[in-house]
Symmetry: C2
Subunit: 357 residues, 2 copies
Amino acid sequence: MDKHTLNVELGERRYPIEIGSGLLEGGYDLTPYTNGRDCLIVSNVTVAPLYLEKLQGCLPGIATRVVELPDGEAHKTIASATAILDELVGSRAGRDVTVIALGGGVVGDIAGFAAACYMRGVAFAQVPTTLLAQVDSSVGGKTGVNHPGGKNLIGAFHQPRVVLIDTDTLATLPDRELRAGIAEIIKYGAITDADFFAWLEDNVQALVARETDALTYAIRRSCEIKAAVVAEDEKEAGRRALLNFGHTFGHAIENSVGYGEWLHGEAVAAGMVMAAEMSAIDAADRHRLQALLSAAGLPVSAPLTRPGQLRDAMQLDKKAEAGKLRFVLLRALGDAYVTADYDSAGLDAVLGAAEKV
Amino acid sequence: MDKHTLNVELGERRYPIEIGSGLLEGGYDLTPYTNGRDCLIVSNVTVAPLYLEKLQGCLPGIATRVVELPDGEAHKTIASATAILDELVGSRAGRDVTVIALGGGVVGDIAGFAAACYMRGVAFAQVPTTLLAQVDSSVGGKTGVNHPGGKNLIGAFHQPRVVLIDTDTLATLPDRELRAGIAEIIKYGAITDADFFAWLEDNVQALVARETDALTYAIRRSCEIKAAVVAEDEKEAGRRALLNFGHTFGHAIENSVGYGEWLHGEAVAAGMVMAAEMSAIDAADRHRLQALLSAAGLPVSAPLTRPGQLRDAMQLDKKAEAGKLRFVLLRALGDAYVTADYDSAGLDAVLGAAEKV
């Protein structure tokens, strides 16, 4: 095991992110992060056959129970969270139970929400197995499920006790999902770190080719940026909203095409290009963002939708405050800001370009 | 309006409890506690016809929407919480929405849980209209719903912005529910305040007769005690558990007879007597507790159940930790403590007395 530890500094809820190769295979001991001897692993039908047994090897002396959800964003529902709660109640789990998510962002979000709601909050751990979950959704404590009317509308802030990132799990990740994860990595460079953005321009092919050193560095740097932002603003009162760069448009795309048609990272990629178009930045910077996303094999424009569809979807987006949308825009690559004071003609132009005529 | 203000001291989540007569009739201004101009009032079919219009008078300039739930503990379900979430999503409520609960503990718990889950937490206010909700459930931020397998197993800590207690609403409260509320008031005396307990012995008939001054003092003193305990231990890591005096047995009774057969306060009354029987206190103190509860017209023993039924129900109770039950016991009237180190023969005797032979 070769590993690196980062900490998310949240006072008494401080927790480590362990990043490395061979952590599951080597039986990294997770028991210091469990509350007692009762663990429920939540996974899905795709990931469990690959990694469940290895994860159980990280919980010596603990007889785990398992909930296997169906795979996919379509199942990120209250019904799935309820299935986990039913299992916890059915097995008479006490306040000392630990819920462990093994899988991608969907599994982590649902399992974390169930852990937040059971007895008003029990211990939770994240073992993310997709690149997107490793660099984004497993860190920071946002949990939740979708509502038919909108993504992530139902949820809770519930921080994990530990995030265990085994880069070996990326070996089994479908290519399209790997690229979707790279979209969020590019986001970190674009919003806060021009040097990291430049590093990504140099190394994007190594990432797509799954070179371990490049992936490990990109995951680590992404987690560092996210951990710092979350430590500063856990509940998104301010700075944390920067992490939503590309997401207002991205969620609208996901809502409009139906969950699961576009992967989250793909929608965010197109959304970042749209947000960059609304930003008063150099055309060269806009071009660099688009070129990097293209090099990662990601979409750089929204799908064609019926007139008004993206705008309607955005109104419901949870970043809307008192009817006014907020956007994360760029001053330059590596320098983002949040604003409700945007040029509406610019918004119209960006949305108009995505409309079927 | 004649009112008294208490504060629940929770740092940046500090909030007032306003107690008085004529607050709703007089149009007490709630708008300083709303985040924006969008409010959803959650009530039930019994309370809404009585007080909804008056509450709307406390929200000048705000066009409220309303969800009316069916009445009763049987409806304290995920389905009811989902109905509120559906209304929030359907009306495209933003992060600035304020959810206001108008009703008893069931309405407050469900509405608070929905407010906790919508967009990971939106503003919430409590307007409790039953004595039990006024002295207990509306204060302290515990929200949630029942699971078929146990009471309050699904929930969140979510503090209100304000608790508005209009003692006039007690005029329409059925007698049985008034008495159930008095059970929780007696609890506060029993666990922390021997003087208040003695005051209750002198004034219990005035409470049952709904004399305003007596009710107002009892509500105020109960809220003071609860607010102090919650401020010290918001998430029930320690001292807050004292508030569960009588509740381990009480929940077991409610689970065994089916929700709604016994009112919560009635089950807690019998549960307090059972907990007092397990406690190493003077027989005279035990007798005083029983006599006060009887004088309030409350049950002082559990219903007869099949052998093992109460014990099974207690195992699922959320106070169970690693298979070991914890009880709140008395050293004396006004002096309670939490322990997992209890005399199991004493527990057997208490449970055995409630079993059908």
